[in-house]
Amino acid sequence: MGHILVFAEQRDGKLKRVALEALGAARQLAADAQVLAILIGEHTAALTQTLTARGADKVYLIDDAGFSHYSSEGYGRAVADIAKKEEATLILMGATALGKDLGPKVAAKLGGPFAGDCIALETDSEGKITATRPMYGGKIISTVKCRTATYQVATLRPNVFPVNDPDDTKESLVENIAPLPDLSSVKAVIKEVLASANTKVELTEADIIVSGGRGLKAPENFSIIEALADALGAAVGASRAAVDAGWKPHSYQVGLTGKTVSPSLYIACGVSGAIQHQAGMSSSKYIVAINKDPNAPIFKIANYGIVGDLFEIVPLLTEAVKKIKNE
């Protein structure tokens, strides 16, 4: 296995957890080879130590105002240049909004194989990757095989790969990228980033998700879902039925035409669990279903199910959780 390059995504000076997961995956695949990280942004220098502690042998750094916002062309060129310089076998990043754009961009520049939203990676003796990834909205799990061991690009589904235990004794090796990639040819420029109203916990990154569906009966009843989510420090999700009814914007939607999530705990309240919904959440580690219909498909995939009135059960659960958190 040759060098593995991890694109360490940060936003607003905070590393994404999936960046550390990518380092974890890289470390497992690397054996004796080097794990390199590339970190791009402004005010990023402070994050290099974390990358070292979590498995990077070397960190390539851009800490520059010109790179404070993402651009496919600018970031793509930076990553591709380092990949070429280091003859990277594999380039990893999270399957985030940014990674889903950057991954294919880098693969296009390098001509290497690309596998998106991977949930498992293996390597053969030549360093060729076999990736496991969902297709057909999660209705199929596929394995794809790379036929070349150079410049393989993979994005990793968040919350799937383990993070390495930190090694704070490791000496940090940082190289500032110079000269910086020329941004004069960047023709798509971020002018502004608007924070969304849903700022609490991002769905795709959340460790716990509480979601509501048609069983909530009215948009204002989402407040009982939100109360449970607040008590748990969880993100709030919604079924397509709830989104189509206009109760929540599309950014809340879990499922085939919404977001795919893999939290440790997914609590579905009044969600029937249509196949389209399951496609977005069935890889959650634990699923709890609360629904008054005992035949709701969600119970077929739930670890724990309560058949009953969510308007009675969810507030009880919220109280119980608060009690635990106060202990």
């Binding site: 189509d244 035949n295 498909p297 077929k300």
Partner: protein
Amino acid sequence: MDFNFTEEQTMLRDMVRKFVDQEIKPLAQQIDKEHNVGLIQGILKKAAPLGLLGIPFPEKYGGANMGEMGYAILIEELSRACASTSVTIGAHIGLAGTSILIGGNEAQKEKYLKPLATGEKLGAYALTEPGAGSDAANIQLSAKEDGDDYILNGTKLWITNGDIADTIVVYSVTNAELKARGGITAFIVEADTPGFSAHRIEDKMGLRGSATAELVFQDVRVPKENVLGQVGMGFVIAMETLDESRLSLAAACIGAAKEVLAMSVDFSKKRVAFKQPIAHFQAIQFMIADMTAEIFQMESIVYRTAWMYDQGKKIPREGAICKLFCSEALDRIVDKAVQIHGGNGFMGEHPIERFYRDSRVNRIFEGTSEIQRMVIAEDVLKKGSY
């Protein structure tokens, strides 16, 4: 022989299916539970610009010229989701529009059929009366000549779209002696004509979202130019319209049957009893087999008959056969579907319950099963053989 849809027919089916899945299916339960005619009117507003409300009519009258085949495809797909919507559109196209197409002169088609085809206006067809259902020739609503007008007096009952339609084809008696043999005349009546009033009838076993009304005519003055076809031609127009409309009613039965079969298959695979999905039991399998076999028969006769109609053949016997067989087959099918669903199928929350209620009227309206049998027998006896 070619049993395939043409490319256009396939595209039409796919488009309507998508429209139904996105615009009608999510509302169907609510339409039924709330008797919500307004939701159906909203659907009509969306269907009109797509050309769905004029499918079988010639392009020069604002239609899509896709014939009876196109119309049957539309009605089948609508009926997969919502019988109330299907019957609203059926009365508009298959009864009101078709009557004008069959009986109307050029000026009438221009003035009345065109706005129906484009969906600008909604149509209704008023034949049934308190004392004349199966015995349609026995209608009493009278039309008396008065100068350039006729004056209509009487009552029509259970008229689909009666209180929401703009344009109503009204069958009346102009000569009580002649009755069906030249004494019945059809008029095109505009709903805002003085003396006309319509009253919604809400309490129905099924089709609860469709507007069913009693129509009252008190000295309603209709100009002679609104006589559909000629004086005395009304019964012929009414019957020919029904030939065609019965066929589309049969197409509606196919859509409902396919939908409840799909629900039954799905349910029987998921529902576990005695530690296995009930689909494993032969008792369930036999019901599913019978449902499927009947659907195949329904589909075969309806689309063959639609093709015949589009070839210009008259279809009194075939239309009646389609209506008789499909309405009765659908009743057998929804009955099995409820049985497969068990208690779930009895509960108002499940669409199966709605399909069961909506299905029953198909054996009654636009000619009861008994009338269809009479039509078939009369035709066979007249011609002497098959």
